[in-house]
Every structure is written in structure tokens, then in C-alpha cells.
Amino acid sequence: MDFGLTKSEKEMQKAAKAFAKGEFDKDMSLELDKKKEFPTKVWEKAGELGFIGMHFSEECSGQDLGLMESCIVIEEFCRKDSTLGSTLAFSSYGSESILKYGSDELKKKFLPEVAEGRMLSSCAFKENGKGYNFKSLSTTAVRDGDEWIINGEKTYVLNGGSAGFYTVLCQTDSDADITKGLSMFLVEADREGLVADDVGEKLGLRMIKTATIKLNNVRVPASNLIGNEGSGYKQIQEFFDINRIIISAQAVGMAQGAFDRALDYVKQREQFGKKIAQFQITGHKIANLSTTITQIRLLTYNAAWNYDQGKNDSKLTAMAKLASTKAAVDVAAEAIQLFGGYGFMTEYEVERYYRDSKVIEIFEGNRGVQRDAIGKDVIGKIKK
């Protein structure tokens, strides 16, 4: 094993640090969070400088880098600012299906737009009253000549209302086995019959729009089918694999960012005649938090490395999502506690880390979903 960062990893880390330092302004961020506005300028700049879709191929305006480098960058971004970092992490949300399964035409048309910071992407998979099994979806796509007609409703769609297109998971054969009955379609945001209803105010990640996407007889050309008909289940699993690792990297960054702020604070704030850091209980809290952060970082990197090696391990991915997001919430909570009353105040930022980390903890499968997945995988087949 080798726990040292490679040259490329180090370079991207350095570049990400520099970008975040230069472009992430605290006051701007507080303002945008308050107004629930997307950080358009930061996003455009990130696109220009190649921080979006780093793992895309060069012809799609990417850098052909690994998910590992993406994770390192996202971590640095979220460390510096939990919300700004997340907007960037999610700006290519759902694009991977196109990257891996899309036709050259779709790739060329959409991926450079995403990577260059001109278009947000999104994946619409979740439905009301349905969990993460996708045993039967109410959103359907029916073939009609050279077109598909899509009907249904998707909930909690990230970038919903701001994305240029959605990858939409549809039932294409209700009689078929789950591994064959689902298909993935690219649906442009401006297609007739597609409406994005904003979900309203959120607990966290307030700069990112989230919407319910209603599809009413939306027609897309057959060329908008991503990959083969019936490959939707496989695609959505791969989507989760990559996105849960990305979320895990966000969580590591958020945990580290909340920790950084708390550590600075306890080292300079005095109470009862000494610095807060000098109380034994503070030392122990700092020890626990830094131990946790070290562990989730390793777990996340391991999952990303496996992905890059083509040895993707879904249980490791779910472990990373499970452990990292919970840790981020816990670290942020303890950071607030270490700040005392100030921690509750927006200005000191840790409260936002707390809100944002809670959202990504729940998002794309809460603890129960992850534990179900890991348990099933580890237990494997049972002999009768």
C-alpha cells in the first residue's frame, strides 16, 4: 500500500486550495446562502479552470483524471466552504451516465457544456412513496416511432429547475425483471411537458435548487436513450457508486472545515483564565474529532481508488457515504459546541456546515438505505 498522494493528486489538491482561497469569499457565501442564490460566477470560473468534470475525457472538456483527484478537489472546496463546495461538486450531477453510456452525439453536445461551467446537469430517479429498490417505477417511457413518450413525476431532484438536462430513470418494461425493465433517458429542461416545481426552502445546501420534476407526455427522440434499453438499473447503481463517493468527499471536507474553524477558535478564545484548548476535555474532543476525520478520509479515498482501478466495490462506497456523512454532522455539532453561543450565529459558519452536512447525510439514501445495502452485500447468499 502507499498512503502518499501521487504527484497528480498533490497538484490538484494544491490547485483546489488556491482556487478556493481566491474565489470563495465568506461574505459572498453568507449572502448567497441567505438569498438562496446559485454562485454563478464561482461556478463559471471553476468550469473555466477545469474543476468540473475532471474525470471526463479530454474530448468532453475534462482532464481524464481519476475520481480520486475529484474527491481531493471536492474535499478542499467543501472544507473551505460547505455550500459553495457542494454547488461545484454537484454541478456535473448525473453526467456520468452520459460519459459512460451515452452516444458520441450526446457526449459532445452536453458534456463540454457541463465541464466548462455553462450548464448544470441533473439526475432524476427518486419517486414519491418509492425507496431505493426501484422495483417498479411510476415514471414510464413508451416508444412511439422514433420517439419516447415519458410520463411521471420525480422528487427531490437536485439542480431541479436550474439544470440544462436531466437523466431520467424510467420504467420501459413493467413485466421485465428489475435488471431489464428500466431505462435511462436524457431529457432537456426545455422539452415541452417538463415542469420543475421548486420544493421551497431547504435545511441546507440552500444555494442549490431542488425541485419536483413533472413529466407530462414529454417526447424525446430515440437518440436520447442513454445506453441500451433495459440498462437503467445498472446505470443507476453506477450513478450511486460514483455519487456516494463524491458525497463522501464533500462530507470529509465539511468535517475538516468545521473542525478547522473550531480548532482556531479554541486556541484563541479564553474562558476562566485559560484558552479553551487548554482544558483537558477540549483536548479530548479535538482528539476524537481528528481521529474520526482521519478515518473517514481514508475510507473515502479507498472507495475512490477502487473505483478508479475498475474494482468498484459498492459496499465500500456505501460505507463511505454512511460513515462520512454521519461524521460530518457530528463534527459540525461538536464544532458549534466548542464555539459556544457564537457557533449558533451564522457569521461563524459552522452552523452552515451543520445544516449542509445534515442534508448530504440524508440525501441519496439515508443511513438505513446504506446499511441495508452493506448488510446485504456482506452477508451474501444464504444457504437454505
Binding site: G131, G200, L203, R269, Q337, G340, G343, F344, E351, N366
Partner: protein, 380 residues
């Protein structure tokens, strides 16, 4: 078993609160959150309904209730889904200072208005530079003839904007001992030299006006000192048991409200054709949470019983303040997780609980201070 015996009068009071809150408070909770403020008129309304300051005796316009009224009050208050109309702070934390330490003159002057809602109160201890370390207090009070001149800044003051009367802790700078120089003073709204800062933007309790207060050569009459000169620290300490007990009750009662909401949510939310409440892992979590809430409720009631009985329950109160507010945060965190995606929307009522509850482990003495206090009074 029934630990707290409520009289018919308590139950009537509960009913009156319930009806009033349902009509005049709960429906406005969302609006107040948006506005980041509760209009003063609401306070007046509560007073006009006879629902302020249950502990104030009849001679000052109150109902002369006991601490059981306070418990009933907090239980009903917990259902209002807001925290900006900080009735408990006024009723059970600030006004009791006037009641206990005010001269007859002061009591006659202020208490009837506190009951009627004309005079909303706040208490100002914490300072920017020293936080909860009272020994470092920098606000000074200097006598000048019949007046006292106050100088200094206070921060994190709840009811910071809405208050008509503030109890300010300040020190006599001539006295070396960091504690024995502290006295408490009543400062009215509008007194020259008394100004209020911007309201803070906060994680939670958004409808509540937390602010900084500035005292710049602020002159008040000598009669506005509460209790004895230099007795401030003792007074603050004496009142802490009740303040912390209130915070502890808030933790337990809040957790009760959460588990109730959560069970209902899990029973009515169908995922893949099955209510969440039929998932074994969720059932176990619900039982674990309900267990802790029952433990907290029972212990809390015995503390209330003993507190009413006039016993010293500093150790137990410190323990429950710490345990109960940690519980509240743990439970609201778990509840959001269990609820899943819906719990990322502000529309979901528990999200407000999630944001609001984070301060409870910090206010009324951080939970770390609670543990220090408990250890000290346990003699370990």
C-alpha cells in the same frame, strides 16, 4: 405512577393555554420565522389573556401559581412549533428576579406590567469578550449621586429587541474580587445611553431577536438596583436552579414532541408499499428513543417535585439539563435521518426543531459547565 399531582386548576390552565396557543401562536409560527421577529402585540395579547407570569402573586396582578403551572405551560408551549415568542424566559427566568429581589416599590411598579404584557423583560449577563465566565465581566456600574452609570456591552441577549426592561449584570470596578462586585440593575427601554445592536442571523430560533446591547454612560436611578449591592453573583446562582430546570424540561418535553411526530410520520409514510414503522430497524430506533424519553420524563418529574418542595437539586438539575438537551439534539438528528428526504425541507416541522435545538446544549450554561457543576457538588 403519577408523580406530579395536577389540580383541577392546573388542568383548566392547561386548557386555556392550549386554546390560546392554537389560535394566537401556532398559526403564526411560520410567519414569525420568516420575519425573524415576533410582534410586540403578541406579547400584549398573551398578557391580556391572563397567560403571562404564572408565578406572580395575585397582589401584583398574577394568578399566584406554582411551578406546576410552569411545567404545564412548557408542555403546551412545546406544541406551538416556534420558539421566538420566548414566554418561558420572561415568565420563569427574568420576572422571578424582580419577584425575589425587587423592593416592594419596584415590584409594584413593574410586576403588574410584566403580567399584562406591557413590560417584556430580558436578562443581560454574557459579554462578547468573556462569554459565560462571570468573573471576567467588564461592564461597570458606578454610583453618581442618586444615579448609577452603566458602561459596557452585552451579547447573545434573548428578547434583545422586544424587551421593555432589561436586568443588567455589572460590576463595581473598585472591588477586586471578581464575584463580589457584581450587582443587578433594571434598565428601561429608552433610557439614554442604552442601545441595541443588529439582530444576529442564527442557525435556529429565528423568530427570536437575539442581539447585542450597548450601555454608554447609561444613567439609571439608584432604586433600580435589584437586591443588595454586590449580591449579583449570589442572586444569579440562586436563580440558576430554576433556569436550568426549565432548560432541562425543555429538552425532555421537546424530545417527547419529536418522538410523537416521528411515530406518526413513520406510520403514515408508505415506502414501497409498507409503512416505515414496519421496518424492523426503524421500529427498534423508535423504541430506543421512546425509552430514553420515558426515562427523562420520569426523572424530570421527580426533580420538579423536589424543586417545588424547596429542595436543593443542583446536582440532578445540572445532570438533566445536560442529558436532556443532548437527548433533544440526538433525537432530532435521528428523526431527520429516519424520515429521509422529506426531512431536508423546511416544510417539515422537525427541521425547525433541528435548527432550534442546537443552542440548548449551550444556553443556560453549556453542558460542559453543567458537568463541572455536578462534579463539584457531588464532591468528586
Amino acid at each position: 405512577m403519577e408523580i406530579l399531582k395536577y389540580t383541577e386548576e392546573h388542568e383548566k390552565y392547561r386548557e386555556k393555554l392550549r386554546v390560546f396557543f392554537e389560535k394566537e401562536v401556532t398559526p403564526y409560527a411560520d410567519k414569525w420565522e420568516e420575519d425573524h421577529a415576533v410582534p410586540k402585540e403578541v406579547w400584549r395579547k398573551v398578557g391580556q389573556a391572563g397567560l403571562l407570569c404564572p408565578l406572580v402573586p395575585e397582589e401584583y396582578g398574577g394568578i399566584g401559581g406554582d411551578f406546576s403551572h410552569v411545567v404545564v405551560y412548557m408542555e403546551e408551549f412545546a406544541k406551538t412549533k416556534q420558539s421566538g415568542l420566548m414566554l418561558t424566559l420572561h415568565n420563569d427566568i427574568v420576572v422571578p428576579y424582580i419577584l425575589a429581589y425587587g423592593t416592594e416599590e419596584v415590584k409594584k411598579k413593574y410586576l403588574p406590567k410584566c403580567v399584562s404584557g406591557e413590560c417584556i423583560t430580558a436578562v443581560a449577563m454574557t459579554e462578547p469578550a468573556v462569554g459565560s465566565d462571570l468573573s471576567g465581566m467588564e461592564t461597570t456600574a458606578v454610583e453618581d449621586g442618586d444615579e448609577i452609570i452603566i458602561n459596557g456591552n452585552k451579547t447573545f441577549i434573548s428578547n434583545g429587541h422586544v424587551s421593555d426592561l432589561v436586568i443588567v449584570a455589572a460590576r463595581n470596578s473598585e472591588i477586586d474580587d471578581p464575584y463580589s462586585g457584581i450587582s443587578l440593575y433594571l434598565v428601561e427601554d429608552g433610557t439614554p445611553g442604552f442601545e441595541r445592536g443588529e439582530k444576529f442571523d442564527k442557525l435556529g430560533m429565528r423568530s427570536q431577536d437575539t442581539a447585542e446591547l450597548f450601555f454608554n454612560n447609561c444613567r439609571i436611578p439608584k432604586e433600580n438596583m435589584l437586591g443588595t449591592k454586590g449580591g449579583g453573583f449570589i442572586m444569579l446562582m440562586e436563580k440558576l436552579q430554576q433556569e436550568r430546570l426549565c432548560a432541562a424540561i425543555g429538552g425532555v418535553v421537546g424530545s417527547e414532541a419529536i418522538i410523537k411526530e416521528l411515530i406518526e410520520f413513520c406510520q403514515k409514510t408508505i415506502v414501497d408499499g409498507k409503512p416505515l414503522s414496519k421496518s424492523q430497524a426503524i421500529r427498534f430506533e423508535l423504541v430506543e428513543m421512546a425509552t430514553e424519553v420515558k426515562l427523562g420524563r420520569t426523572f424530570m418529574e421527580t426533580l420538579i417535585y423536589d424543586h417545588i418542595d424547596g429542595q436543593n437539586v443542583v446536582v440532578e438539575t445540572s445532570m438533566l439539563k445536560s442529558w436532556g438537551t443532548d437527548l433533544l439534539n440526538d433525537h432530532v438528528n435521528r428523526a431527520l435521518e429516519i424520515m429521509g428526504d422529506y426531512a431536508t425541507l423546511e416544510e417539515s416541522v422537525l427541521v425547525r426543531g433541528f435548527r432550534d435545538s442546537r443552542i440548548t446544549t449551550i444556553f443556560a450554561g453549556t453542558n460542559e459547565i453543567m458537568k463541572q457543576v455536578a462534579a463539584q457538588f457531588m464532591g468528586i
